[in-house]
């Protein structure tokens, strides 16, 4: 696996050169004589009413030790879900130890002052529950998640409390964990999308912590119980945590159980990092990552996005819905339904306390790599240069607002929305105002978001594929990175 890096020239020149090669080294697929067309007959009966949905609100409490608690009652089924966010994730990993937050979370279940790893496993499984802890690279949080039957709520809380407050990070279990992680890293690196994300985040975020997507063999090997204890001591503190509960619970009862498990949790408040200063956006470039014997090219292309608290986040979200936010959006309809280049083509808006990426991705057979790049670029230019027609924009706005009805069904999803509000310090009427703001997003605001965030001068493109693949962008001397 190597990424070729050459000195950079302007992206537009690079792309122009790539597209202009008259005699590609390998034959590219020609367009079919007749393209398949997307057709609107408009004969289906559609209700134009938008269901007005108000999301049920949680009871929010702060324990004297600083732990924020959200309790959301949902009584349809006798289950309960818990989510504990620690406000520190792999974004805060020391430079010499990528993965420290992940390792700390991953080792919580491997032994406490009360239970061995095997006892924890037995106690979780005996009540039919699930209990997992993790952090993600690029995430400012670590998370402990548990699910189970409602009558087990007290036992589950006891287990969460035990792994969060009393982990011992035993060295024999750590050695086993490290061996599993080294294997897992090998396994992960066999996945093309993992390689694509790795290179894309490096290109986009440069020396910012969000550039890191994987641990290294060195960081895994260098992990010690002391490093984990230190991380845990600093960050697994009640003032740095939010506990959410959703399900068939009564707030008074569950609060009693929560106090029992968490009232003794102590610790100095963790420092709050400032994530607002990103490196200046890098000039546009294309990065090629070799994956010998790949039969597809994985393409990722994107820029810095917005924070949820930024004033134009909603405009960006609506813009993305039009461009690539689903099978009804432009990228999918163009690259798949018209051209047949791919099984799927989408774009996404990230969401974190720093400017998470806005990025498009698609996986295409080698022979249509150039054609796919051409269509992606055409759609990027179109949404920048042309105002989204009123009917298309109406549909996009409607799709977001109408989908709120469906969100009521999934307790964990609902809880997640409220934990976001708490985590970001948003007002409690955020989800009431959100659909209103979506509905009022204007064509001008959407175009402004496209021009700002679909930033072609700084667009970072990554193609993972076979080094022998027949793509002219590969043989072009202007490919950079």
């Amino acid at each position: 696996m190597t990424a070729k890096c050459r000195s950079s020239i302007s992206f537009l020149a690079a792309l122009a050169a790539a597209m202009a090669v008259a005699m590609p080294a390998f034959p590219q697929e020609q367009h079919a004589a007749e393209l398949s067309k997307v057709v609107r007959l408009n004969r289906a009966p559609v209700s134009n009413e938008t269901l007005q949905v108000t999301l049920p609100r949680p009871v929010v409490t702060k324990l004297p030790n600083g732990l924020s608690v959200l309790v959301l009652e949902r009584h349809k089924l006798p289950t309960v879900d818990f989510v504990l966010w620690i406000g520190t994730g792999d974004m805060s990993d020391p430079k010499d130890m990528p993965g420290l937050a992940s390792f700390t979370a991953g080792m919580l279940r491997e032994g406490t002052t009360h239970r061995t790893s095997a006892q924890l496993a037995a106690d979780v499984d005996k009540i039919g529950a699930t209990l997992n802890a993790s952090s993600d690279f690029g995430s400012t949080n670590s998370a402990v998640m548990a699910s189970g039957l409602a009558p087990s709520a007290g036992q589950i809380l006891d287990l969460i409390g035990d792994v969060v407050l009393n982990p011992t990070f035993p060295s024999d279990e750590l050695e086993k964990y490290k061996r599993r992680q080294l294997s897992q890293l090998e396994q992960d690196r066999s996945q093309p999308y993992v390689l694509a994300q790795e290179r894309f985040r490096q290109a986009l975020y440069q020396d910012f912590p969000a550039a890191v997507t994987l641990p290294t063999p060195e960081s895994i090997k260098a992990t010690t119980p002391e490093r984990l204890k230190e991380f845990h001591h600093h960050y697994y503190v009640p003032g740095n945590a939010i506990l959410g509960v959703v399900g068939d619970v009564k707030p008074d009862e569950i609060m009693g159980l929560i106090r029992k498990s968490f009232a003794d949790w102590k610790g100095q408040p963790a420092p709050k990092p400032d994530w607002s200063h990103l490196p200046p956006a890098a000039p546009a470039k294309i990065c090629l990552v070799d994956r010998p014997d790949s039969v597809q090219t994985n393409i990722v292309a994107g820029d810095y996005g917005a924070r949820r608290t930024d004033p134009d986040y909603i405009a960006l979200y609506v813009m993305n819905r039009v461009l690539g936010g689903g099978p009804q959006a432009r990228l999918f309809l163009n690259l798949r339904e018209v051209h047949g280049y791919t099984y799927g083509a989408y774009s996404r808006v990230g969401d974190d306390k720093y400017r998470e990426a806005w990025a498009a991705n698609t996986e295409v057979r080698n022979a249509v790599t150039d054609g796919s790049m051409e269509q992606l670029m055409a759609e990027f230019k179109r949404i920048r240069n042309e105002k989204v027609p009123e009917t298309e924009l109406n549909e996009a706005r409607h799709s977001i607002v109408a989908n709120f009805a469906l969100s009521l069904e999934q307790p964990q999803g609902l809880l997640f929305r409220w934990m976001l509000v708490q985590d970001y310090g948003l007002p409690m009427d955020y989800w009431d105002r959100y659909p209103v703001e979506v509905a009022h997003t204007t064509p001008d605001a959407v175009q402004a978001a496209a021009r700002k965030y679909v930033d072609l001068d700084h667009l970072q493109i990554v193609c993972v594929g076979d080094p022998k693949q027949p793509a002219t962008i590969r043989s072009s001397p202007s490919v950079t990175c």
Binding site: G128, Q296, Q328, T342, A405
Partner: protein, 457 residues
């Protein structure tokens, strides 16, 4: 609803522990549904759930890749894609646009035993959901350029999920090795050459034979008025003509004598994989349920036997799974393990065999049975959160086993399994004569796809 848990307790032994765990477990709430058949043979189930303002709609067709013929593998799934390419009153791609732009979700899936199409929508879009499903059941519109387009999309789906994936070939080849009957032997995604050979006439013929109301089940679950919903169903679907019943599929699997092995040299893999497959009886049979309990005991949770032995103690694997399929025809119990680099596949295989042998010799404990039951109960209750998923399962149980009420009774059936039955089933089915095994080994890049070496015994 009968609870079998208490019967188990009478058997003595470690009563108290089991009783304490099971004492206050909730029950799986019952789904009440109506069951009607239109004159054209369309079976309709409607269940009310007013906890959220939405509904799920699922159409399950009694056709899957088992109905395919040699030379047309992958066709049932390619056809499924064509159902999104337009019908008399719905343009190509308009289905996606109408569902998502009105706040819904949708998809379609194909497996060996059935094909389903489904949407979740806000409750005020009932007409939209019924219109879209009925229009494509009534009058699918097919043309060459749309077929070529979806042939491309499906071939990319295969590349994405199989040909460009480490272990992709191994997961296809295990069934190919295990089965002799073509119905389950070939893959649902199909061979590239067969996909290339599919014609517009094939699509039209498949539609005529299999996509008739008498070969389908419609299920609606959600915030609905049952009487009004049934009237609308009749309005949209009632006039679609029925067709002669499709030809039956011979699912007979010849007897197996001796184990089968294959080694794959995989240039995309960086760590080895071992997949073992044992022939077991079809789903919805007591033996299949016993083996489902066994699979749970073997690999569900970090206190499971295979996790403790292979991942923690021996450290041969990073992950290990046991899974008992519940197919309509002869089914399979799979055990597969992702190995650490450098671990010998034969060592891992032996450790798995040792664990199976231990069950065959000493059986499983009452605590393990209780654990499997409570894990299964929690899963079953959680899957009920989604009305759409409930609709899909009712439809699937009706098409698979003619018993939609399995949505309510699966837990009872699972709870009826005793430790002795698990031991007996392990002795009877997890034997060498019924085993097929694929080993996937990392190979140097070679400029071609993964290659296989077979050994029969």
């Amino acid at each position: 609803m009968t609870s079998y848990r208490w019967c188990g307790l009478l058997l003595g032994g470690l009563l108290m522990a089991a009783q304490l765990v099971g004492a206050d477990q909730p029950k799986l709430p019952r789904v009440e549904f109506t069951d009607q058949k239109l004159e054209n043979g369309l079976r309709v189930f409607i269940a009310v759930d007013r906890t959220a303002p939405l509904f799920g709609i699922s159409v399950t067709y009694n056709v899957g890749s088992r109905n395919e013929r040699p030379g047309r593998t992958g066709f049932a799934h390619l056809f499924e894609h064509m159902m999104f390419e337009g019908s008399e009153n719905v343009g190509k791609g308009e289905h996606f646009i109408l569902i998502f732009n009105n706040g819904g979700n949708m998809n379609g899936t194909t497996n060996e035993d059935r094909t389903n199409y489904f949407e979740a929508l806000p409750k005020n879009q009932l007409d939209l959901g019924l219109f879209l499903e009925s229009d494509r059941m009534r009058a699918l519109a097919v043309n060459q350029s749309n077929l070529d387009n979806q042939r491309n999309a499906v071939q990319e789906e295969r590349r994405l999920g199989v040909d460009n994936q480490p272990y992709g070939k191994a997961f296809l080849d295990i069934d190919n090795l295990a089965y002799d009957n073509f119905a389950y032997k070939h893959s649902t995604i199909g061979e590239m050459a067969d996909l290339n050979a599919a014609s517009v006439d094939d699509v039209k013929e498949f539609f005529r034979i299999y996509y008739a109301p008498n070969n389908a089940v419609l299920t609606l679950v959600g915030d609905l008025d049952p009487a009004q919903t049934l009237e609308k169903v009749k309005k949209y679907f009632g006039s679609i003509p029925s067709q002669p019943a499709p030809p039956p599929v011979n699912m007979t699997e010849p007897s197996h004598y001796g184990e089968r092995r294959e080694i794959i040299y995989d240039p995309l893999a960086r760590t080895p994989l071992v997949i073992m497959a044992y022939h077991i009886p079809p789903g919805n049979t007591p033996d299949n349920e016993a083996l489902h309990v066994l699979a749970s005991v073997l690999s569900q949770g970090e206190s499971s036997r295979l996790y403790l032995r292979l991942v923690k103690e021996k450290q041969f694997a990073t992950q290990v799974f046991a899974q008992a399929d519940e197919r309509r025809g002869p089914s399979i119990l799979y055990v597969y393990a992702f190995l650490r680099p450098g671990v010998k596949p034969e060592d891992c295989e032996k450790a798995i065999r040792d664990e199976i042998a231990a069950v065959q010799k000493d059986g499983i404990t009452t605590e393990e049975v209780e654990k499997a039951r409570v894990q299964f109960l929690r899963e079953q209750i959680q899957t009920r959160q989604s009305d759409l998923y409930t609709a899909m399962r009712i439809g699937q149980y009706a098409v698979y086993f003619g018993d939609p009420d399995l949505i309510n009774t699966v837990v009872d059936k699972f709870n009826a399994v005793t430790a002795d039955q698990v031991k007996e089933a392990a002795q009877k089915y997890l034997v060498r004569e019924q085993l097929s095994l694929v080993t996937d080994l990392p190979a140097a890049p070679q400029g071609k796809a993964a290659t296989a070496q077979k050994e029969g015994k």
